[in-house]
């Protein structure tokens, strides 16, 4: 919705989504991303069709700017009949509950994970005499590129053994290039441009320290990938970042200003050079991340949420109407009207495309067979 790719109509996509839900025999609808029109509409349709709905939130939103105010209102309307929500960190959970006015007992926290097998350390790729600080992110305002523009000259002056590797592209790339030109740091700062995701691991393996200056971050998978490759992470202390890595052994957290981050980078460089006790052992760090974070664990926890949600009875029309009207005031009245329009439209679509005309896809791997096969293994 923020990129104006599609406008919410709440009726136009209903026939298609209903057909997909019936054809594939869907039992739970799981939506992602607050700014997605399809996600918001699917949650409304799911509750109207009697299916339980789950929503995962990945980002943090503000309360006081205009985009935040409007999006939060939309989210409050569409998530009023939600069965369960999943957030990627406790900061994200607090943010979602306050934004969408949800019942806290329905909001769970399942932290993201990283595919540790793709992000393995390789100490042979690291240079022996220079310390490399790696920055891989989109170069936009949100990722704190203004802070980076202030940090690089100061660190380059105070620590002559440090080089920077900057991967990524964006509208703030020009600021960085201008700064490098101004301070004559062409041989100290290396720009890689946009790095495809498959090559990020090889870029990370070249570094000793990973620097993340984001101004806001719900759960930073980038620092997790860096820690998995054995780098020591220096990051701003925003959003859900403190919940990701144990600090101070794997991450150094700083305030969001240039001087604090420069101090953090200095401390990190002192730890990493010299191979003392303080330095992060890449293999050990990788194994720690491997045990702490895995997508198998995320899947297991999500299945627990699904089990709980599937056992709830579908909501009746009056329950849903009460949910929509709990918005209060004129908004509640309009939401109630919206719900009634959706109900009428559902009846029209059922007349237009009867359920009997939709071919249901047969289940090639029925549930019982899959379960017994796993046990035998």
């Amino acid at each position: 919705m923020t990129d104006q790719d599609a406008l919410p109509t709440v009726t136009a996509t209903f026939p298609l989504i209903r057909e997909i839900l019936i054809r594939e025999g869907i039992e739970i609808v799981h939506a992602h991303q607050a700014t997605s029109v399809m996600a918001n509409e699917s949650v409304v349709y799911a509750s109207a069709l009697g299916l339980p709905s789950v929503y995962t939130d990945h980002s943090l939103f503000q309360f006081d700017d205009l985009a935040g105010v409007i999006l939060n209102r939309v989210l409050q309307t569409t998530l009023s009949t939600l069965n369960a929500a999943i957030c990627v960190s406790y900061a994200c959970r607090d943010n979602l509950i306050l934004r969408a006015h949800l019942d806290p007992s329905r909001v769970n926290v399942i932290p993201n994970a990283v595919d540790a097998s793709k992000f393995t350390p390789d100490p042979s790729k690291r240079s022996k005499d220079r310390i490399k600080v790696v920055v891989v992110s989109r170069l936009v305002y949100r990722k704190g590129v203004d802070l980076l523009v202030g940090i690089i000259p100061k660190v380059a002056k105070q620590l002559p053994q440090v080089d920077f590797i900057v991967g990524g592209d964006g509208n703030k790339m020009l600021d960085l290039i201008e700064m490098v030109e101004r301070e004559q740091l062409q041989d100290r700062v290396e720009f890689l441009g946009a790095v495809p995701h498959v090559q990020v691991a090889s870029v990370l393996q070249r570094g000793h320290v990973f620097l993340n200056c984001s101004l806001t971050e719900s759960f930073c998978i980038a620092i997790l990938e860096a820690a998995s490759c054995g780098l020591l992470v220096v990051s701003t202390n925003v959003g859900g970042v403190p919940e990701v890595l144990p600090s101070p052994d794997m991450a150094i957290l700083c305030d969001s200003n240039v001087s604090a981050l420069v101090k953090g980078v200095k401390a990190a460089v002192e730890r990493q050079e010299g191979d003392g006790d303080d330095a992060v052992d890449p293999i050990q760090a990788h194994e720690r991340i491997e045990t702490m974070y895995s997508w198998h664990r995320v899947a297991k926890q999500t299945v627990q949420v699904y089990d709980r949600v599937a056992s709830e009875p579908p909501q009746t029309f009056s329950e849903r109407l009460a949910c929509f009207q709990s918005l209060g005031g004129i908004a509640g009245f309009v939401a109630g009207l919206l719900l009634m329009i959706v109900e009428v439209w559902i009846r029209i679509v059922i007349l237009w495309r009867p359920t009997s005309t939709i071919d249901v896809v047969p289940d090639l791997m029925p549930f019982e067979k899959a379960y017994t096969k796993d046990k035998n293994n």
């Binding site: 806290p104 097998s117 925003v238 702490m292």
Partner: protein, 323 residues
């Protein structure tokens, strides 16, 4: 076997259920919505009434500037036409003798310009170029602009001459309303943006480009109703001084009078009000005065009584501000 394959096989052999879960899903805190809300709710800082009135004063001043523009347009029309179709010059001004009327208009205008000039010079000069260079560039620019505008006045007058008067009046008023809505009041109150030092003699206009464009749009429309090129020239120059050159001076005055001379912006607003009221008839003056008093006193008072009930939600989701 390479290391990647070894890791993959180990994970697959272990199976899903042996990887320890680090947080059970049911283990969420048992808080209610209200508890979470009060944890993050903070009261916004309470602003004193004097600060609120000072801010309201700027909005009122901008409103008076737009009234001044419209009133001076009417004066220019009357000067040309002297026809009974248009309203006579205001009742207030007509109490003076016709020979002294220009001087009555002249005096508050000059005092206003002098006050602005004196107090904008007091503020510290943050430019990195010398005063002499700045004077030279500004002097040369103003002379060039004066000559250029004199020749352009004829063109500007014909731009919208074919529009009907109703359209012109409606559009001009719409443009001035837009100017009021889009004006950068933070800049007018003396808040500077920290980026950029004035390295050339020609700093960019910072008072809001949409408001400036809307004001000029209205002046061009109104200027098309005048007939003499000289009148058009004077009117356009008048508007340029009021809307393009005055905001920067007001900004400097606001910075200079933050601690000492607190009454100066107030005095400047009074001078502008006096100038405008000279040109309006009694009823119009009463109406404009009522709007002005609402903007300057009633609205700030209302905000002052309401601001204690505002709660802000501050938490880890706030985007950190880079200074």
């Amino acid at each position: 076997m390479t290391r990647d394959k070894a890791i993959k096989r180990r994970l697959w052999e272990r199976g899903n259920h042996q990887i320890p879960l680090n947080s059970k899903v049911q283990d969420t805190k048992k808080e209610t919505y209200d508890e979470i809300f009060t944890k993050f709710a903070t009261k916004s800082p309470q602003m004193p009434l004097s600060l609120l009135t000072a801010r309201g004063l700027i909005v009122g001043q901008e409103f008076i500037l737009t009234c001044l523009l419209l009133a001076s347009h009417r004066v220019a029309l009357d000067d040309e036409n002297k026809s009974p179709e248009y309203q006579p010059i205001s009742n207030i001004l007509s109490t003076f003798q016709p020979t002294t009327q220009p001087y009555v208009l002249f005096v508050p205008w000059v005092s206003f310009l002098l006050t602005t000039a004196i107090f904008s010079r007091i503020s510290p000069d943050s430019a990195s170029i010398t005063q002499k260079e700045k004077l030279q560039t500004r002097g040369a620019d103003s002379l060039f602009m004066a000559l250029f505008l004199r020749f352009l006045a004829g063109v500007l007058q014909t731009l919208t001459a074919s529009y009907s008067s109703d359209t012109v009046h409606a559009l001009a008023i719409g443009g001035l309303v837009l100017h009021l809505l889009a004006c950068d009041f933070d800049y007018a109150n003396g808040h500077t943006e920290s980026n950029g030092v004035d390295t050339t003699g020609r700093p960019p206009f910072k008072g809001g480009t949409l408001s400036l464009t809307a004001a000029f749009f209205s002046t061009i429309l109104l200027a098309s109703r005048l007939e003499e090129n000289v009148s058009v020239y004077i009117f356009v120059t008048y508007s340029v001084i009021l809307f393009a050159l005055y905001p920067a001076a007001r900004h400097r005055v606001a910075i200079a009078t933050k601690s000492k001379y607190r009454a100066v912006p107030f005095a400047m607003t009074l001078q502008l009000v006096f100038m405008t009221f000279l040109l309006l008839s009694t009823y119009e003056a009463i109406f404009a005065g009522a709007v002005f008093v609402t903007l300057c006193l009633l609205v700030p008072g209302w905000v002052y009584t309401l601001q204690s009930s505002k709660t802000q939600l501050r938490g880890p989701w706030d985007i950190a501000h880079v200074s």
